[in-house]
Amino acid sequence: MFLIIGLLSILIMKVEFFKKSYFILTKNFHQRFIIAYDKNQFSGFCSKESHGYIKYIQYNFNLKYPPTIINLSDRRVKLPYWIFNQNNHMIKNDKIILTNFELDKVFDFNNYLVIDNFNNKCFFLIRK
């Protein structure tokens, strides 16, 4: 019996069961999602694939359908429309999530209203 308890304890420690249970009890799914992708090597809150910012916009503006996502990163990136739980043909063109913007990059803001701006790098825009 001690061997079983010992092995179970190792498993519990390996997955950091208590720490993760605490996070599940104290943070909602959207917060955990943002934290998880912040640590992800392909993403971040407002860098690389920017899952965190996209999730933040979806949650705070209660978006049911994906807006157009424009990622100005120089790297090869995927556009995570799946965060909205809709297939790509449901994308709406009147709203835009712009990520990885930098001053040396060209984007015409004149046609859009800025609804959200994170560090002048990630934006949520609506067509005027």
């Binding site: 061997l3 079983i4 092995l7 179970l8 190792i10 498993l11 519990i12 390996k14 997955v15 950091e16 069961f17 993760k20 249970s21 996070f23 599940i24 009890l25 909602n28 799914f29 955990r32 999602f33 998880a36 992708y37 992800n40 392909f42 993403s43 995927k78 995570p80 799946w82 739980n85 809709q86 297939n87 790509n88 043909h89």
Partner: protein
């Protein structure tokens, strides 16, 4: 609230797959033991997933699939009410097993619920099909997905992901992936059930395998965990098939094997090759009547034709991974077989082997095992399966047209992981042959 929903989801898996089709009669007058709880879970998982798959072929969306499934369960319960009451008693008789099962499930589920992220392939290919099914799309709607979204890949994993996402209360995507954890755990239990030792020893080996094989990365929406689980069920069946069985048991287990091959074919492209290798090695090694061997061969061909037909009917492309193997002309093949490429594959293979602790563990046991060749004929099927799978990996890599090192870095670990259950057979054989008991 979310924590309670995770527990409810786990209890849902445990209870949905506990309602049994009455198959105990098959094991009357059997030289082997009667079916136990894990055998029943294994049987139900294989049959119910095949049922989901069959219903999807009829172009039903998951709402209709679930309604049909629950009607099926209702009739099963109604006509087997006495049997069901007896099954309820078995829960108290197997309380220790259920406690271990529940703890393992909750630990893995909490990790999945907190880690959340999807892997590269999951975001590129599998999630799009899952979302299609979740939003009540059918197999026919898969053709509307972007070509780059892997719409022509097999879809079983996405279908299961969507079904259990749909029946969760919170309707968050990761609830569907908790089902992968359930199949994974039951598949390891099914393998360790083949130990000829005490229940206690089986639980210890189960926990050791769990500790050595569990990694969140396998639950990030990739389908290799399903391949691992179906291969584990297959490995467990193979061990059974090489033990004394009467005709009824033999046919029953071969029927389950064919159903498992169907699941492999519909999980990932390489599943078809695994199914072919498994059937081939059993035809070669299993001492069965010729007509049963013919039945196995015809079944495999029928399953592959079924996959092609279903894709043809719904206008889906059946092309096998056209990304990576474009030039298969004789000159093209000849030009790709170079010493450099062979050396690179071997080098990365060694790295991949060293990262898989279960394979290392099984190889060490194989090396230190006394009388290796005493039961060689009984285990020949296993060595053939492992060697043919490794030969398949080697061929796939040597013939690829895209960056070989990128392919090796991103795929070899997962391919090896999916065939690990056949290495676990070596561990089980070692324990059985040496009559080892954990005390």
């Amino acid at each position: 609230m979310e924590f309670i929903n995770i527990i409810i989801q786990i209890l849902l898996f445990l209870s949905l797959f506990y309602f049994r089709i009455p198959i105990d009669n098959i094991y009357y007058n059997s030289p082997s033991k009667k079916l136990d709880v894990i055998d029943h879970y294994t049987f139900n998982i294989i049959v119910y997933i095949n049922l989901f798959l069959f219903l999807s072929f009829l172009n039903l969306n998951i709402n209709n699939i679930l309604i049909t499934f629950f009607i099926f369960l209702f009739f099963l319960l109604t006509f087997n009410i006495t049997n069901f009451l007896a099954q309820l008693k078995q829960i108290t008789q197997n309380y220790f097993l259920f406690i271990i099962l529940f703890i393992a499930l909750i630990v893995i589920s909490i990790d999945i619920s907190n880690s959340i992220t999807l892997g590269w392939d999951a975001q590129k290919f599998w999630i799009h099909k899952t979302i299609n099914f979740f939003n009540n799309g059918t197999i026919e709607n898969l053709k509307h997905l972007d070509k780059g979204d892997g719409y022509d890949y097999p879809y079983l994993g996405s279908l299961l992901w969507a079904i259990f996402w749909k029946i969760s209360f919170l309707k968050e995507e990761y609830f569907g992936r908790l089902f992968y954890g359930f199949i994974y755990i039951v598949s390891i239990l099914s393998l360790t059930n083949r130990l000829n030792s005490s229940l206690y020893s089986k639980k210890i080996l189960f926990l050791i395998i769990l500790l050595l094989s569990y990694d969140y990365i396998n639950f990030a929406g990739e389908q290799d965990i399903l391949l691992f689980s179906f291969m584990a069920f297959t490995a467990s069946l193979c061990i059974k098939l090489f033990r004394p069985l009467n005709d009824r048991e033999l046919i029953f287990n071969l029927f389950l094997l064919v159903l498992l091959c169907n699941l492999l074919i519909w999980t990932k492209a390489e599943g078809t090759v695994y199914a072919f290798i498994i059937i081939l090695s059993l035809i070669f090694c299993l001492k069965i009547k010729k007509k049963i061997k013919i039945f196995l061969s015809i079944s495999l061909v029928a399953l592959i034709i079924n996959r092609i037909l279903v894709y043809k009917v719904y206008n889906l492309n059946i092309g096998v991974n056209s990304c990576c193997w474009n030039d298969l002309s004789i000159m093209g093949i000849y030009s790709k077989i170079t010493f450099d490429r062979i050396f690179t594959i071997l080098q990365y293979s060694i790295f991949a082997f060293l990262k898989n602790y279960l394979i290392i563990f099984s190889l060490i046991l194989f090396i230190i095992k006394k009388n290796k060749f005493k039961n060689f004929n009984n285990n020949l099927y296993n060595y053939i399966i492992i060697l043919l799978c490794l030969a398949f990996f080697f061929t796939a890599y040597i013939l690829t047209d895209i960056d070989l090192i990128f392919m090796l870095k991103t795929g070899l670990d997962r391919l090896l992981f999916s065939i690990t259950p056949f290495f676990i057979i070596i561990i089980i054989d070692y324990v059985n042959d040496n009559k080892l008991q954990f005390r």
